[in-house]
Structure formats: structure tokens, C-alpha cells
């Protein structure tokens, strides 16, 4: 099928696109084309220019140089309205849904059907049409539900419905599986196949190499704002792609030094339950160990992490660290050397508007300045030490943390806890939204912590990460621990078996 589509003229092409932002050359002479019925994978590290390219594609940005070709015809400017007319629809990683509007209004936002009374919407038709679109993607839900009541996967379905309702001929998806469970991912892939069969072109951005090969017809790799390569999926290998993205080769098994003789019991969780939906969870982590917490999205892994850290109140059970019971507050946990690197850096991990240095010293303020008197000089020194140790790419500790790349932001969160002298780390999806090169660095960092004697609990939705990085793992299902897997039993198949609903 791919051979067929290559012979057809591109639906849409960008030629020699350049885009300059103050201080940054985001895109430099990039050409990109899309053909009917193909899946065109777009790869690149964060900052490679994928987002900019995507925004130019949908008309949100105007390029400084370059041309558009629509079915071979040159077009000078593309506005968001033009893009919609051309059938280009984008599903951003951060959904463009309005939380307190219902599904139908979200699907047809800006394109509501005029009713008989001028100015009013024809609501009957709105719900009928929405129902029709939802049916085509097999999504059985009441279109009157407000979007804020939906889960992430359901919200993504709404996004897709929204795109399809515009008769999209080109569907751009930015890491659509980032927040999806295995089963939801399968459903998404099946739908993509169906869309392709109908002749829809898909531009798919992903960091997951497995997906790239499962879905992709063609692959374009961007690096530092330039196009490095555009290859057919059938003619390349994962290692080749990684090398193209990063500019050097990286070991995707992360070269973990597994721990043969774990140390003392660092964390002991006995039968905890919480209102967030977890019940009777027990687990242990020893010093020097990396323990995985696997399971489907929604199985309660993050809730366990929050309960252990004291962010959510537990209703039953007991948590002990280094033998002593915890009193269940983040202050107590932090003071006694526990660290939480939360799932969502931007909303839970960092004060984005503050500087790198301010963020790094935040958790350790009490330890660093026992008298309560803050010294900017000492804080800067401490931050500098962490920046050097973790090799955080920032010109200065005074740089606003929001300006750093995802990987470097994640390092700042880790650095915050290193500075606070933490000995037990909970990593919740540490590689979410982080590109391949930075991923390896994060795992090296985690490995280093474990080798220095820290105890680590790591949550990940990517089973390969659990398998490659963890000494052993617990698998969760529906708010409970479904089982524990020792090093020898730790395979993707076993994780899936335990994690799936029976």
C-alpha cells in the first residue's frame, strides 16, 4: 500500500520552510510532504522543531520563508481558517478542549450549525451530527457530557471526533499515546488503520520507536530545526533512527547495573487504602534497588505514589520509612528524605515562572538554612553544584525554568530532591514527554542514584522501561497490587498478563 501512495501527488507540501524566533532558529529550510492514505511519522528530540512545523502546518504560525503547495498548486499564506478548509486537523498533546462545554459543543466549536432563529445554534442538529461522528469512531458516550468529566483517553476520542467532523484529509497527531493505556492504544491504532483506508493522511509525532514501526509508512527526522532524513519505514532500523535523531548512537537498553545485594529496608507499605481508589496496597523497596510499579493507565499507580508521599490521605494501613512510621504529610516525607518526582512536571513538579536555582533549592530550604535565614549566594552555589552534577543545560541558575527543555526540566525536579538530601525517590513516569536522548540520561541518573544507595520506586507505562531498568516490579490492577515480579520473571508478557483485567 505504501508503494501506491508514493506514486500519488502530495496532498500538501511545505517547501524550504524557515522560521525564526527571537534568539532561536526554530526551522531551517525544511521540506515536508503528505500523501493521501499514508502515515507519515515525524521524529525528533524536543526542540528539534516538530511543534513549530506542526503549528505552521495548521496555520498558527506564519513561516519567514518557504512555500506551500496544495495538490501541486502554490499558496502564499495559510491561516487557521485556510488549514481547516484544506482539511488539515491537528490533535495537540495538550488537548484543545473546553472543560465546561459538553462533547458536542467541543466537537463543533467554531462551526456550530445556525438554527432557524438567527444567531442561535441548531442544537438538535448539533447533537445528531455529534452522535453520527462518534458512531463512526465507535465511541459510545452521551454527547451532552461536559468534557471535564471525561478521562484522558475519552478526551482524546473527542479530539479525534472533532478532527473527523471537519472532514479532515490530513490528521496531525502529537504523541497521541502518551497518556493512553495499552488497550486504548490498540483501539487508537485500529482507528488509524481505518482512517488510512478511507484515504486520510496521518502525520504522527512520537518518541516511541515501536509505534513508529507499527504505524509508519514514511519517517521524517528533524534535528535542530533541520530535516535530517526522510526514509521509508521498511528501509530503516530503530538504531538508525535513534542515530539520526540524536546525531550519535544510544543504547536503548540503558545499560543498567542491576542490584544483586539490596541494602536495608527503605520503604515498607502495609495494606494502605485511600479515597483516590486504591485499596490494600503493600510493597517494599530496599536501599540500592529500583522497584517498578507497572499497570495500565488508571490502575492506581500514581495514586499509590501520592499516598506514599502523603499528598493524599490514607484511610487504612501503614507506611514506614527506614523502620519509622510516617505521619502522612508531604512535609514529613520530604523532611525524612523521601522524594516525589511527579507525573506532570509543569503542574506538580516545578514553579515554571521561577528560576532554575529557586526550584532546585525549594525542597531543601529547611535543611540548607537551619536558622531560617536565606542566603542567595549559598543557594546559587548549591544550585550550581546540582546543575553540574546532573549536567542540566542552562546558561545560569537564574534562568527561568520554563525556558528549559523537557529533559532538563525533569533533571531540575530530580536536582531539587538531590539538594534536599533525599534517599528514597518515587519517579512517576519520569520519561513522559522526554525525547530518546534525554531518556537515556534520565535512566543513567536513576541508575546512579541507586548505585549510591538510594531506594527507588519507578512508575512507567512503558513496559520495556520497567523491564530494562527495574530490579523487580509490582503490577497494579484496579487499585490493587495484582502481583510482584522478581528480576527473573520480569518480562513484558508477564506485566501485561498481570495487569490485564480478567
Amino acid at each position: 500500500m505504501s508503494a501506491e501512495s508514493h506514486s500519488a501527488a502530495p496532498l500538501f507540501a511545505l517547501q524550504g520552510i524557515s522560521k525564526q524566533f527571537p534568539g532561536v532558529r526554530a526551522l531551517d529550510d525544511v521540506s515536508f510532504d503528505i500523501r493521501a492514505g499514508e502515515t507519515h511519522m515525524l521524529l525528533g528530540e524536543n526542540g528539534a522543531g516538530k511543534s513549530t512545523l506542526m503549528k505552521i502546518l495548521c496555520g498558527a504560525y506564519r513561516p519567514d520563508a518557504g512555500a506551500f503547495l496544495v495538490s501541486g498548486e502554490p499558496v502564499s499564506v495559510i491561516t487557521p481558517a485556510d488549514a481547516r478548509r484544506l482539511g488539515i486537523a491537528v490533535i495537540f498533546q495538550e488537548f484543545t478542549l473546553v472543560p465546561y462545554l459538553d462533547i458536542a459543543h467541543n466537537v463543533f466549536l467554531g462551526r456550530e450549525f445556525p438554527g432557524r432563529i438567527p444567531g442561535l445554534i441548531d442544537r438538535g442538529r448539533l447533537y445528531r451530527e455529534t452522535r453520527r461522528v462518534l458512531d463512526t469512531i465507535g465511541f459510545d458516550i452521551d454527547p451532552r457530557l461536559p468534557v471535564h468529566r471525561l478521562g484522558v483517553a475519552q478526551q482524546q476520542m473527542v479530539e479525534i471526533a472533532k478532527a473527523l467532523s471537519q472532514d479532515a484529509r490530513i490528521l496531525v497527531m502529537d504523541e497521541p499515546t502518551a497518556a493512553l493505556s495499552e488497550r486504548e492504544t490498540e483501539r487508537l491504532f485500529a482507528m488509524i488503520a481505518r482512517l488510512k483506508a478511507r484515504g486520510v493522511a496521518i502525520v504522527y509525532i512520537s518518541h516511541r520507536l515501536a509505534e513508529v514501526f507499527a504505524l509508519g509508512d514514511r519517517i521524517t527526522v528533524l534535528r535542530d530545526g533541520r530535516k535530517v532524513a526522510s526514509v521509508l519505514a521498511a528501509q530503516t532500523t530503530p538504531d538508525e533512527l535513534v542515530r539520526l535523531m540524536v546525531g550519535r548512537s544510544i543504547d536503548t537498553t540503558y545499560g543498567r547495573h542491576f542490584c544483586d545485594s539490596p541494602g536495608d529496608l527503605a520503604l515498607e507499605v502495609k495494606g494502605i487504602s485511600a479515597d483516590s481508589g486504591i485499596s490494600d496496597v503493600s510493597l517494599t523497596v530496599r536501599a540500592g534497588e529500583i522497584v517498578g510499579l507497572a499497570g495500565l493507565v488508571g490502575s492506581g499507580r500514581s495514586e499509590v505514589a501520592r499516598a506514599i508521599f502523603g499528598a493524599d490521605r490514607i484511610t487504612a494501613g501503614e507506611i514506614r520509612m527506614f523502620g519509622a512510621p510516617m505521619d502522612g504529610s508531604p512535609q514529613d516525607s520530604a523532611r525524612r528524605g523521601m522524594a516525589l518526582i511527579p507525573e506532570n512536571r509543569k503542574t506538580q513538579g516545578l514553579a515554571l515562572a521561577r528560576s532554575v536555582g529557586d526550584n532546585i533549592v525549594l525542597a531543601g530550604l529547611r535543611k540548607m538554612f537551619r536558622s531560617g535565614i536565606f542566603s542567595p549566594r549559598r543557594a546559587t552555589e548549591a544550585a550550581q553544584a546540582v546543575i553540574e552534577r546532573l549536567r542540566i543545560a542552562t546558561p545560569s541558575p537564574r534562568r527561568t525554568v520554563g525556558f528549559l527543555s523537557g529533559g532538563n526540566q525533569q533533571k531540575v525536579v530530580v536536582g531539587k530532591w538531590l539538594n534536599a538530601g533525599a534517599r528514597f525517590f518515587i519517579f512517576d513516569e519520569p520519561t513522559r514527554g522526554i525525547d530518546v536522548g534525554a531518556k537515556a540520561e534520565i535512566f543513567k541518573l536513576i541508575d546512579g542514584l541507586a548505585r549510591e544507595g538510594a531506594a527507588i520506586l519507578m512508575i512507567s507505562s512503558e513496559q520495556s522501561e520497567i523491564v530494562h531498568v527495574c530490579d523487580r516490579a509490582y503490577v497494579m490492577r484496579a487499585g490493587r497490587i495484582a502481583g510482584e515480579l522478581a528480576r527473573q520473571q520480569l518480562t513484558e508478557a508477564n506485566i501485561v498478563r498481570l495487569g490485564m483485567h480478567q
Binding site: F92, V98, P99, Y100, L101, I121, R149, G277, S302
Partner: protein
């Protein structure tokens, strides 16, 4: 996570605080004295609430966009003065009414431009225009009331239509219009999007800035319209008549369950909020409760309604 939580929440627990407080007040005052629950008194409460309803409805929309309009009371005052002065000068109620609307619309557009085009935070932008409107009102009148308005204007407040007082009809019509606007038009969907996800609106091809300006313009326009009722009620215009009304409106919106974040608004709640405050004041007056206790009761009502909502939104 959120799914697990909301599913466990029984439907009854979603009854908003303002409804509970309002029903309690109605029941309590009805039991406490015979004069409260009479048609005349209910009409009385509704008529007194009309001006605030006219301000609180657009304020709901503005707050839904994560904005605020502190200038409403002052703009109403200035519009009322413009109306009265124009009527006195020209003898034409229609021209006066238009002058009031024009002042309201002008300030609304200015607020919208300051917020949407220049990007000044709404609180500060409208604090600035509050000063300007208030200053103009004082300066052009030199602190004096403007009188000599023809009776045709007064009838807007005191008259009836089909035996229903006109202010109640205006209030009901304003609510109905507001409801249509918010829930049945593109503009309404845009209001939700302005607070909930501005990017979505931009990508849908709508101009978020233009929409934001329209929201503030509606606020100004309604203040201009409310000026008509206020002027009719006083049969004059006074340069301090509207001071602080914006805070009453904001409080009613908040009591009504609209949150200041993510476009989570409830228009009917605003109506309940306004009426709850009106019922409280009226009931306490009928019971001849001393004014100092009344003052404290209003504060307690605001905190209580929000407190009930806060209890409910807890995990």
C-alpha cells in the same frame, strides 16, 4: 483518578450551596413573620434585585473568561448621569437612554481593549476605568444630583405590564437573553472557551481577542442599561449611586457557584445568588434586625455559601 472520584459522588451532594442557603432563608423568613411570604413582598424583593441582576449576569460571563470588571458600578453611575443630563437637556427620553447605553458601551469596549489588546490584567484595567468613570461622574455633576427627569422614565421602574412590575419583566427577559446567549449561541461557546481553553478557540478560527472585547462590551452595555432602571428608581441621577455595586455583583456570581477558573460558570446560580442576598436583606429588614447585625449577616451568607461548596468539592 478524577473518574474514580466523581463516580463515587452521590447526585444529592451536588446541590449547590447557594440553593441550600436560599431555600433555608425562604423557609426561615416565612416561619419568622407573616409579612415575608406575600406576593407584594416577593415582587418587592425581585424589583430591588433587578439592577444587580443586570450587572451580575454579564459579570458571570466576564468571570467565566477568568476576568473581572470592577468598573461596572462606576460606569452605571456615569451612564445614569449621562442619561439624566441628556434627558434634561433635550427632553427626549430615547436620546437619554441611548446616551446611557453609549457611555456603558464605550467603557465596556475600553475595558475589553485594555484587557484583550494591551494585555493588562482585568483587575487592574477595570480598577483604572473605575477611577476614570467615578471621577468623571463627580466632576461633571460637581457632586450634585441631576433632577428634572420626565415621568416617562420613572415609569420604567414603577410601571406594570400585564399587572407585572416592569423591572421584574426586564430582569426575567435579561436572564432569558443571557441564557440563550450563553447556552445557545456561538458566542456563548466562545465564552466557555475563553476561560477554559483559549487555544481551542483560536484553532477553531475565532478571534479570542475580539470575543473577549465583546464580553466586556456586553458588560458595559448592561451597566448602561441598568443605569436606566437605577435612574428611573431614583427619578434622578446621583454621582455616588452605583459605588460598590460591582462587588455585590461579583459576590453574587461567586455565591452562585461560578468559579474564577477554567470557565466553570453557572448562570442560573448567579440569579440565585442575587436573589439570596436580596431575600436576606429584605427578611432582616422585616424582622427589624439592627443594621450592624445585617452587615455581619451578609458577610456570613457569602462565606457560608462558598463554605458549603468547598465542603462538597472535597475528596
Amino acid at each position: 483518578m478524577s473518574q474514580i472520584r466523581t463516580a463515587a459522588l452521590p447526585a444529592l451532594a451536588r446541590v449547590p450551596g447557594v440553593a441550600i442557603v436560599l431555600v433555608a432563608l425562604l423557609v426561615g423568613f416565612s416561619l419568622a413573620g407573616p409579612r415575608f411570604l406575600t406576593p407584594a413582598n416577593i415582587a418587592n424583593i425581585l424589583m430591588q434585585s433587578t439592577v444587580l441582576i443586570l450587572l451580575a449576569l454579564p459579570m458571570t460571563l466576564i468571570i467565566m473568561t477568568e476576568g473581572l470588571d470592577l468598573s461596572m458600578g462606576a460606569v452605571l453611575t456615569l451612564a445614569s448621569i449621562a442619561l439624566a443630563m441628556t434627558v434634561v437637556a433635550t427632553g427626549s427620553p430615547a436620546l437619554g437612554f441611548l446616551a446611557g447605553l453609549a457611555v456603558g458601551l464605550g467603557f465596556g469596549l475600553a475595558n475589553g481593549a485594555l484587557v484583550a489588546l494591551i494585555g493588562i490584567p482585568p483587575f487592574i484595567a477595570t480598577l483604572g476605568t473605575l477611577g476614570i468613570a467615578q471621577g468623571l461622574a463627580l466632576a461633571v455633576t460637581d457632586g450634585q444630583s441631576v433632577v428634572g427627569i420626565p415621568p416617562s422614565i420613572e415609569r420604567v421602574y414603577s410601571g406594570t405590564l400585564f399587572a407585572v412590575p416592569i423591572p421584574i419583566i426586564i430582569g426575567a427577559a435579561a436572564y432569558a437573553l443571557g441564557h440563550l446567549l450563553l447556552y445557545h449561541t456561538r458566542f456563548g461557546a466562545a465564552v466557555f472557551a475563553l476561560g477554559g481553553n483559549r487555544e481551542a478557540l483560536r484553532l477553531a478560527g475565532a478571534s479570542d481577542r475580539a470575543m473577549l472585547i465583546v464580553v466586556y462590551a456586553v458588560g458595559g452595555l448592561m451597566a448602561g442599561f441598568a443605569a436606566l432602571l437605577m435612574t428611573a428608581r431614583m427619578n434622578s441621577a446621583h454621582p455616588t449611586a452605583g459605588i460598590g455595586l460591582e462587588f455585590d455583583a461579583i459576590a453574587a456570581v461567586a455565591v452562585g457557584g461560578t468559579s474564577f477558573e477554567r470557565g466553570n460558570g453557572w448562570l442560573f446560580g448567579t440569579l440565585l445568588g442575587v436573589v439570596a442576598v436580596g431575600v436576606l436583606r429584605n427578611g432582616l429588614n422585616l424582622l427589624a434586625v439592627p443594621s450592624s447585625a445585617q452587615v455581619a449577616c451578609i458577610g456570613a451568607l457569602v462565606i457560608l455559601a462558598l463554605f458549603i461548596d468547598a465542603l462538597r468539592s472535597r475528596p
